[in-house]
Amino acid sequence: MEPRTSVIEKRLKHINRIIAVASGKGGVGKSMVASSLALYLSQKGYKVGLLDLDLYGPSSHIILGVKNQFPTEEKGIIPPVVHGISFMSIVYFTEEKPSPFRGVDISNIILELLAITQWGCLDFLIIDMPPGIGDETLDVIRYMKKSEFLVVTTPSKVAMGAVGKLLRILLELKKPLLGVIENMTMTDSSFIQQEVKRLHVRYLGNIDFDTVLEDSIGDPDRLVQTQMMKDLSRTLQNIKL
């Protein structure tokens, strides 16, 4: 018998809202949006956690500049607090080495992280999801029942092709969908807005391609001053947070 599933609800009991930042496609800026959202909420005075579930290619720690940190053991593991955010990632255990996991291993890792992480009381837990509709997405839906989804795409038709599939499965499963953010826009095309509206999902707004954003990676104090952060804050005005 699998005992870990019994304790997950208790671990998440004192978290008010869980927001999974997801996309059907990789490379659209999910980690940047997830990390920036966590910083935005933390700056607003909320107690915030960030869980990086991109187990093959975790990157939130790079964006937040997390170095030489490790969870504390206390009736489980307590995530270190980084720039006001309780931050949990597989990277504490993989040391930046390649992570060749198969599907069953992914589910086991997610179960283990959810069973042993002591988040305490949080207003928000933000999840940086990997791309697609694979094990991680299905496990978040299965084990984190109150999760809401914030979906990210780029203006590309290629990205929207995959994002549309994610939106359709989330709608089919009746998961709360906060809306879609169009990231890295360079023109005034309304293609994404029309596609999202066609699926009866909220289009929250766009984030312009920020040519100097790369300079703020690893430096949250600079990140919160970027044009990307200003654009993200504007799109977040369309959600009740």
């Binding site: 870990r4 019994s6 040391e95 996991f101 086991n108 992280l113």
Partner: protein
């Protein structure tokens, strides 16, 4: 005390199951402990006994039986099989502790001793498994 969190999952699962089966008390809980997770048995048993107090249905004192399950790893590339204990001494303390927390990071920190492939599977002895519950109706 990461063992505490795992013990809590065992106690909650045992109580959930006993309620489903309408047991008035739990008299025996058998737990397999996978070698890979490198659980400190004394701490784990202490946590189990502490967490068992004031549960409904009640859990009899000394109800827990811990059995160690040796690991078995199988290489998908060359078919080789081996045990975690065969390679543990090659790991440094940080790598070994990471596998203690998340057994699947064995794929990150080790390779098949014969062909060097990272594509192997844990066929036995991964982590903590609730094997059986006995009780009184």
């Amino acid at each position: 005390m990461h063992e505490w969190a795992l013990a809590e999952s065992i106690v909650m699962a045992a109580v959930d199951e006993a309620r489903k089966e309408k047991l008035k008390s739990i008299t025996q809980v058998t737990i397999f402990i996978g070698e890979l997770q490198q659980i400190e048995k004394e701490i784990f048993l202490f946590a189990l006994n502490e967490l068992s107090k004031s549960q409904k249905p009640s859990i009899k004192k000394d109800a827990f039986i811990l059995k160690t399950e040796k690991s078995m790893l199988l290489c998908k590339n060359c078919g080789n099989t081996w045990k975690f204990s065969d390679m543990k001494k090659k790991l440094n303390e940080a790598e070994s502790e990471s596998i203690h927390f998340i057994p699947e990071v064995v794929f990150v920190h080790t390779r098949c001793p014969r062909c060097g492939s990272p594509d192997f599977e844990i066929t036995k002895g991964r982590g903590v498994v609730l094997s059986s519950i006995t009780g009184v109706r």
